[in-house]
């Protein structure tokens, strides 16, 4: 469903993503891990057309995101860590706006909108201006709007910011359930425990290079010293830490 071939992004002399090769099949929950500045967000931005690759190719659902961006974007739902929402719209108006962008059959919009607002527990504030929402409510509304057009692929960048434990559990469960229906989830996160709990596969990137992909067990096997995913993550990325700290 997601196919990345030799994807590279350079910002001047800095190589943010370096010859990335990665495939995520349909219905897989893929967690993308890495320290700050590793290249996670740049990868996601290339998958969502927000950044143009220097070289290489990324396709989603068989569509090249640069050659056929509109077709590719129809298949994708994207939830950034700090989602943009129009403050001077109500939650319901924002859903209607998203409906207009994706041109969903109007006959089903009212039903789907109402259900998603209920699922993500923002129905009770749906007629209030978004400027009055808390960060968690904004995040939940962005989830609801993301699923409005029934994407086949959902790309999520650190979705837990602002969510309380109950909401985190519900979102995890929701995403997990949707992957059973064939949804592909590509999630970047720093929450290793969540990744360990729900990911079908994990990829670890550091300094623009993909260090490895595999199930949690396979990733753990990459480390010299067996331990938790956190131990393994720190071991795999530790070589660069002193240099980063010195340059900071």
């Amino acid at each position: 469903m997601i196919d990345i071939q030799n994807l590279t992004k350079r910002f001047g002399e800095k190589v943010a993503v370096n010859e990335l090769n990665l495939q995520v099949p349909e219905g897989e929950f893929f967690c993308y891990l890495g320290p700050n500045g590793a290249g996670k967000t740049t990868t996601i931005k290339m998958l969502t057309s927000l950044v143009r690759p220097t070289s290489g190719q990324a396709t989603v659902g068989g569509f090249d995101v640069q050659e056929n961006p509109v077709e590719a974007k129809r298949l994708v739902g994207y939830i950034p860590d700090h989602p943009f929402l129009y403050d001077k719209l109500t939650g319901r108006e924002f859903m209607r706006f998203v409906n207009g962008l994706y041109q969903i059959d109007p006959a089903t919009f009212d039903q789907r909108c109402g259900e998603l607002l209920e699922i993500f527990e923002v129905a009770h504030v749906a007629d209030q201006l978004i400027e009055n929402y808390s960060h968690g409510m904004r995040q939940k509304l962005s989830f609801a709007s993301c699923f409005l057009h029934q994407p086949r692929i959902v790309i999520v960048d650190e979705p837990w910011v602002g969510l309380d434990p109950k909401n985190i559990r519900a979102v995890k469960q929701y995403l997990r359930d949707r992957t059973r229906d064939g949804l592909t989830v590509f999630m970047s996160t720093h929450s290793l425990s969540i990744a360990e709990e729900i990911a079908d596969r994990i990829g670890i990137i550091n300094r623009g290079r993909l260090l490895g992909t595999g199930t949690v067990a396979e990733i753990k096997a990459l480390a010299n010293n067996p331990g938790t995913l956190e131990d393994v993550f720190l071991e795999l990325t530790q070589d660069d830490e002193p240099a980063e700290l010195l340059s900071a």
């Binding site: 927000l50 950044v51 509109v70 001077k88 207009g100 519900a170």
Partner: protein, 594 residues
Amino acid sequence: MSQSVRTVGDPARQPAQIHETTTPKVAGGQLRALLWTKSRMTRHWIASVRNQSKLKVGFVSISAVVLWAGAFFFSLGIFFLFDRFGEQIFGDNGGVNITDVVLNRMLSVMALVIFMMLIVSNVLVSFATLYRAREVAYLIQAPLAPIVFFLGRFVECLSFSSWGLLFLGSPVMVAYGLQREVQPGFYIALLVLVVPFVTIPAAIGTTITIGIVRVFSGLKRPAIVAVALIAIVFLFLFFRGRGANPDLSQAETVQAIVAAMGQTQTALLPSHWFATAVLQAAVGHLGTTAFYGLVLLANALMAVLLASVAAHFWFYRGWTSLHAADEQRKPSSVKGGALGLIERLLAPVREPARSLIIKDLRMFWRDPAQWSQFLIFFGIMALYLANMRQSGGFFGEEPYRSWIAILNMAATMLILATLTTRFVFPLISLEGRRFWILGLAPLRIRSLVRQKFWLSVVLSSLFTVTLGLISGYRLELQAFELFLTLFGIGAATLALSGLAVGLGSLYPNFEEDNPSKITSGMGGTLNFILSLAFIIMVIVGQTFVVQWRRAAVESGGDPTMAVAIVLGALALATLFATLVPLRAGMRNLERTEF
């Protein structure tokens, strides 16, 4: 989340019903969604005015009405004078009503000036709307065809850039209509044709921006600055040799002015089509109006189409390159470059003012959208200086020299008013999201306001006083005239900075990151209106001083007392315009909860 609802009626399990291709119907639906969203946001914004301070809303509303009415009656007076004394002013021209000719050409000139200002305005606004607005990233990752995205943003850019000039232009046109007792078709033509008229410069300005970003986003900053400087030098050299004024008689001068104004009536200028269409409607020639109106409409549609094509090919690459340039931009080192030098020069300034000043300067320098506008203003200055050199010879004698000195001062103060409204007014608002650090710092809010004020005064003075001195040097002003110029400029620098910082603190917008939008709000508008009022007051005062002094010298009287009274009154007005808004702003910020 509601588990029961999710399992029973989960919409994600339903079959997809999304249109697979971007047909014209889909594109139209998407564009309607974009425009509907903006109209809803506007409605909510208007509704939110009810929740704002009645005093603030009333003050701004009354100021807007006063400004419109002032422009209307001023224009009415001018048109009345032309009608009443036109023959005396312009003399007998063999049966030709020269007043009609001059008035019609004045409207052509005004249309051309508005047209050019709209192009510049749209270049600036479209950069913020197309490249810097936060929603652009959201819209780019949505499945919008490039033309839908562009048209959605273009409509916002058009309305955002045009309303101010329309607000200020409408009283002039209404006054013209009433004074000249025109046919009703004049007003209808105005209302209908103003849309295609403002669309053309909007499309041109937007295309220029898209082209500039596409070309320059990949360049490094020194290369961009070098190109801008070359452009300024080129313009300076281009205009330097123009505008030479040989000695002319009054009749020749009138003819020269009419001929110069006639250059605005070139058949290829959209402003000429607009002016001709409304003027022909004024005398009932609706056929000609329809012809020029259709020419205007056809060209507006073509301009939008060409801008859309430019956006289709250049926008996305320009946008991604611009953001990639942001990622790779290396800020100058702490001790190096011009900023490092300024930081060392600021060593005697006490903390925390010094840190705040350095922070403001760094943020300004690292935002090309800000300093690129400074380059434009300096470009205007270069043109101004180029022309002043010519005028020094022609207006070298009194009373022209004093009048030119006052006009130079007025031009300087108008540029200053634009700069303080554009750059200084938003400073406090831009601190809004950083109040988590400023609010906790051992720093009084008053100190923060004072720091912004003095930063504005010092930086503005470098610009205004230099310009005043150059003007005085070029015109070979005597000591008293030079003192008057510097007095006026100093007063304006203090008062306009006080107004901008004070009103920026009194009417802050802590929710907005875009300085253009902060400036275009009610507070920014009020600031510009009051700045203009102050400038008019200074200009009128100084004109009185110059005239009284000359009259007294000619009649052998002593003008000292009269001059001292006027200058004293101006000094008091300056103190009032500086301190009152500053104190009000400080009090407002101290009461504000963040």
